[in-house]
């Protein structure tokens, strides 16, 4: 368990070594990256298996003074929620590296940026000091720009800049709110638990506005309507591995921030803004789903579907009872895996071979005959995305529905409509992209067979599929980690009516 911070250190070390290895050969860089990502993931998995929850709060991993003049400590701690997300990070990272096996331009730098991003993400999930949290959060921002701007595709510079500026703006809001809370609390400490205690004494007005700043900042990163427009553009522009990571894990940073920092610190503020958050989450679910339904670019469909699924996460958080929030965390994990799968198929398996993402073109290619493995993977990923039972999305959505009903039944009805919309756009895109009818134009345009699906791609796909099926069949594996974390005193102020 105390080895858990090694996830961070291994990632950063791996980044430097990959950069150096890249000077020798691309293959060396890939290998180094894969080894370190696997090691870090392994550490997270082992820690998750052996985890014994502590009823008082997260288990401290490292706690040493850092900047005593400002009450900042290097404090890392983990509870079930952090572990769940750390395992997700490792999984998405490993799969992402497997799906980037064919990157041969500036390979060392690619994996260096990638692993730096991963290290920052691990750090966010393990931080127990708000300053440290923020530092890791910001460390994750700059690699995103370069990953997209150098190795991306459509509109990459615009997409990269938009994504980074939105992320930075979000983090700026968070900074303002946290600093205000720190200052108003007497500037003693930046520890999350200590800030929460200090914030308990703030006036209602202070809590309302502090919450607004911090939650809004995190929600931008989580793709909450109407601040979600960076997500489809950015994810489409990004190279496959980056989109897998961005949609799969980095968006979860925002939701995690809402859950870990914004809500418990300012429960009064949360109560004030709760109806609006409900509405925005629901609009996000349905609106993004409807937009996905009419997209003509394969990757944009997936991009908007990410926004829609994150809406479910935000809905669960908005309902603010233990059941809904545990569903939200499970949905974070589930969607992380599923988004990874979807982007992997679209970007790596299809686009790298057919060089088109327009659904009109793909329709004429009847890809299920020429890429049966990719078709099967995409169908399974699509089913998972629809919330089909047997995959991880179903227990997550069911738990969120139950929890949402407990808080606001009308919201649950709208969420059910959202499930239907998700099924509609997912089925449409499966149908059009892979199961079109062979037209003579399509067959004549590209008569040679496509490059076979490589071993790396197969491994990555099976890894992710395995994860979603495993959690779909045995969600208790994660729910048993998540539930105790929500019953600690830290969350009690904000999770009302929480009978599990």
């Amino acid at each position: 368990m105390n080895a858990l911070p090694c996830t961070i250190y291994l990632s950063f070390t791996g980044a430097l070594l990959a950069l150096a290895a890249g000077r020798r050969s691309p293959g060396a860089a890939r290998l180094v990256a894969l080894v370190f990502a696997l090691l870090a993931w392994g550490v997270a998995l082992v820690a998750a298996f052996k985890f014994v929850p502590d009823a008082a709060g997260p288990v401290t991993l490292v706690d040493s003074p850092w900047i005593p003049q400002m009450g900042i400590r290097y404090h890392l701690a983990a509870d079930g929620i952090s572990l769940t997300l750390a395992v997700l990070t490792g999984l998405a990272a490993t799969a992402g590296i497997l799906f980037s096996w064919n990157v041969d331009k500036r390979t060392g730098e690619f994996f260096a940026f990638y692993l730096t991003l991963i290290g920052g993400v691990y750090g966010v999930f393990l931080s127990a000091d708000a300053f440290l949290f923020f530092v890791f959060y910001e460390i994750a921002i700059v690699p995103k720009y370069f990953l997209i701007a150098i190795w991306g595709s459509t509109n990459r510079e615009y997409g990269a800049m938009k994504l980074v500026l939105y992320s930075f703006a979000g983090s700026a809001l968070v900074l303002a709110g946290l600093l205000w809370a720190y200052a108003a609390g007497g500037a003693h400490s930046f520890g999350v638990a200590e800030l929460a205690q200090a914030a308990a004494g703030f006036s209602h007005g202070q809590q309302v506005w502090m919450f607004a700043l911090v939650f809004l900042g995190f929600a931008v990163l989580a793709g909450m309507f109407p601040f979600h427009t960076w997500a489809p553009t950015g994810h489409v522009a990004a190279p496959t591995a980056a989109s897998m990571l961005l949609a799969g894990v980095v968006m979860k940073l925002g939701a995690y921030g809402c859950l870990r920092v914004a809500m418990p610190l300012f429960p009064l503020g949360f109560a004030f803004w709760q109806p609006i958050i409900f509405w925005l989450a629901l609009i996000g679910i349905i609106y993004a789903g409807l937009v996905a339904l009419v997209q003509e670019d394969f990757k944009f469909v997936i991009g908007y579907s990410s926004v829609s699924h994150m809406g479910f996460v935000l809905l669960g958080l908005a309902a603010a009872n233990a059941r809904a929030v545990s569903g939200a965390v499970l949905q974070m994990f589930s969607h992380g895996v599923i988004a990874g799968l979807l982007f992997a198929v679209v970007g790596r398996m299809v686009y790298d071979r057919t060089h088109t993402r327009k659904l009109a073109d793909l329709r004429a290619m009847a890809l299920y005959k020429r890429m049966p493995f990719a078709a099967a993977v995409f169908v399974l990923a699509g089913l998972a995305s629809m919330g089909m039972p047997g995959f991880s999305g179903f227990p997550a959505e069911l738990t969120i529905l139950i929890g949402t009903w407990q808080a606001a039944p009308w919201a649950a009805v709208l969420a059910a409509v959202g499930v239907l919309v998700a099924a509609a756009f997912t089925l449409r895109v499966i149908q059009v992209s892979f199961f079109g009818h062979d037209s003579s134009a399509g067959a004549a345009a590209n008569p040679e067979p496509y490059a076979p699906i490589t071993l790396a791609e197969k491994c990555g796909a099976i890894l992710l599929l395995g994860a979603t099926v495993l959690i779909g069949v045995k969600p208790d594996l994660l729910l048993e980690l998540i539930r105790p974390a929500l019953q600690t005193p830290f969350f009690q102020a904000v999770l009302k009516g929480g009978g599990l």
């Binding site: 530092v135 460390i139 200052a183």
Partner: protein, 487 residues
């Protein structure tokens, strides 16, 4: 007033070392090296100059503490730290000077730099209005010369002239303001002035004096609306001069004016902690800060010239540093010093990179940096560190600088008053800033090199300076208590 000359001499040992060094450089160059090659002359001058700086820095560090010569100078922790900081920044800038291959007067350059250093170190410790003004003028005159040093380019002459004219005007304002203060309070010692002001009601003349002092402050710190000289000077002056103006001069100026304002004028500071603003010099300072941040950030967006971009960014950073000044009275100078010194390191580094690229074929437009990653990975890496530190990205020092300044400013009154609103403005504008910093990095790391642009060879001294600056930024970013612990 006691005339403790021994104490004075002991306190001024760093300045002595610097002057000796300057004279040595000049005399050696005039005599022994008369017929030597330009490279040898430059090398000797730089080595001697660096030596002088190192010695002076060590002497400043181990020097005496406390008031000197009856309070004319005060060597408190703030002053000592600033003196060491300024000398270190100048040492880094020396590395930049080695790129100036075409310079025909290296010894004079080094000598004037050392004189400027004397001015800075005195500014850091000045606690009496006369010495303050003298030191300021010494530093400024040296900088005017440095700005116009490159006789091969008319832009340099223009820069020097503009800097001189603006600076002269600002100095006049300052002098007039200081004399008004003397008239009102009857003393030129800052503590005594404060005592006198405490018992006086604020009157219009005092306000005029304060405004004039603030004008000089704004000029020296390149803060709006007194910033008009900055873009032209940064663009026209030789790289060394620009880097000094951006780094050491700024640090010294902020220390100087912070001391004057807080030690001398704290009774009439007023308050901007809550929306009930009481009159004093904090309110105009807040206005200057806001204006600087706005003009600096939005001005930088439109720039195509990398040096002008750095100039506008300097204006923006000045605005944020003013926040540190505002909070320094209640919460100490630690954050302010940290930010100013690390900003200085980043600025020196950025100009050093520009200087090296300039020596290899010109570096005026941002696109001249294109393909830097291919042309010199070291330069690209160092530039990334400097630019990201300026942008405020952790774990670099620039991030923590901003963070600590914001934290101390918010402690004044939360978001209830102008101090808090300024913080919000600063945070918002940092997102704008990230945009133009990323544009620079995009050119350096992503774009392909221009046609015919080859590898860049970096002189050894510059390489050492660049790496040292980058390492310092990372180190100070990860362990800020190294500096904060000094206060």
């Amino acid at each position: 007033m006691s005339f403790d000359y021994a104490g004075l001499f002991g306190a001024l040992r760093p300045e002595t070392a610097l002057v000796v060094g300057a004279l040595l450089v000049l005399s050696l160059d005039l005599s022994l090296l008369k017929g030597s090659s330009a490279g040898a002359r430059r090398g000797v001058a730089l080595i001697l100059g660096s030596l002088a700086l190192v010695v002076a820095g060590w002497l400043a560090w181990v020097g005496p503490h406390g008031p000197v010569f009856g309070g004319v100078l005060v060597l408190d922790r703030f002053a000592t730290a600033t003196r060491v900081g300024v000398l270190s920044l100048m040492l880094l800038a020396m590395g930049t000077a080695s790129c100036n291959r075409a310079g025909r007067n290296p010894a004079e350059l080094v000598a004037v730099m050392l004189f400027a250093a004397v001015g800075f170190t005195l500014m850091a410790a000045a606690q009496q209005l006369l010495i303050a003004f003298l030191s300021l003028e010494l530093a400024s005159l040296s900088l005017y010369i440095l700005a116009g040093f490159d006789k091969s380019r008319p832009e340099s002459a223009e820069a020097g002239l503009k800097y001189y004219l603006f600076g002269g005007m600002a100095a006049a304002f300052l002098l007039f303001g200081l004399s008004l203060v003397y008239g009102l309070t009857g003393s030129i010692d800052l503590p005594a002035i404060a005592e006198s002001l405490r018992s006086q009601p604020p009157n219009a003349l005092l306000m005029v004096a304060l405004v004039m002092i603030l004008v000089a402050f704004g000029f020296k710190a390149a803060a709006a609306p007194f910033h008009l000289w900055a873009p032209d000077v940064y663009e026209g002056a030789p790289t060394v001069a620009a880097s000094l103006v951006a780094s050491a001069s700024k640090l010294a100026a902020f220390t100087f004016f912070t001391r004057i304002l807080w030690t001398g004028f704290y009774p009439v500071a007023g308050s901007i902690s809550t929306s009930a603003v009481t009159p004093g010099w904090l309110a105009p300072l807040a206005a200057i800060s806001a204006l600087s941040m706005l003009i600096g950030n939005f001005g930088a967006l439109a720039q195509q010239n990398v040096r002008r971009l750095l100039a506008y960014s300097a204006i923006a950073h000045s605005g944020v540093l003013m926040l540190g000044v505002m909070a320094a009275g209640d919460y100490g100078v630690g954050p302010l010093f940290y930010y100013a010194s690390t900003y200085g390191i980043a600025a020196v580094g950025a100009f050093a990179v520009v200087g090296v690229v300039e020596a290899s074929g010109g570096c005026q437009k941002i696109t001249d940096l294109a393909g830097l990653a291919r042309r010199s990975p070291l330069l690209a890496g160092c530039l990334s560190v400097f630019i990201l530190s300026l942008a405020g990205i952790p774990p670099l020092a620039g991030f923590f600088g901003k963070f600590s300044v914001f934290a101390s400013a918010l402690r004044l009154g939360g978001l209830a008053g102008p101090a808090g609103w300024l913080v919000v403005l600063a945070i918002a504008l940092s997102a704008v800033a990230l945009y133009y910093y990323l544009i620079v990095l995009k050119q350096a790391l992503i774009e392909a090199p221009a046609q015919g642009a080859g590898k860049i060879a970096i002189p050894a001294a510059a390489e050492v300076a660049l790496v040292a600056a980058a390492v310092l930024l990372i180190l100070l970013g990860v362990r800020p208590s190294l500096i904060l612990g000094l206060f």
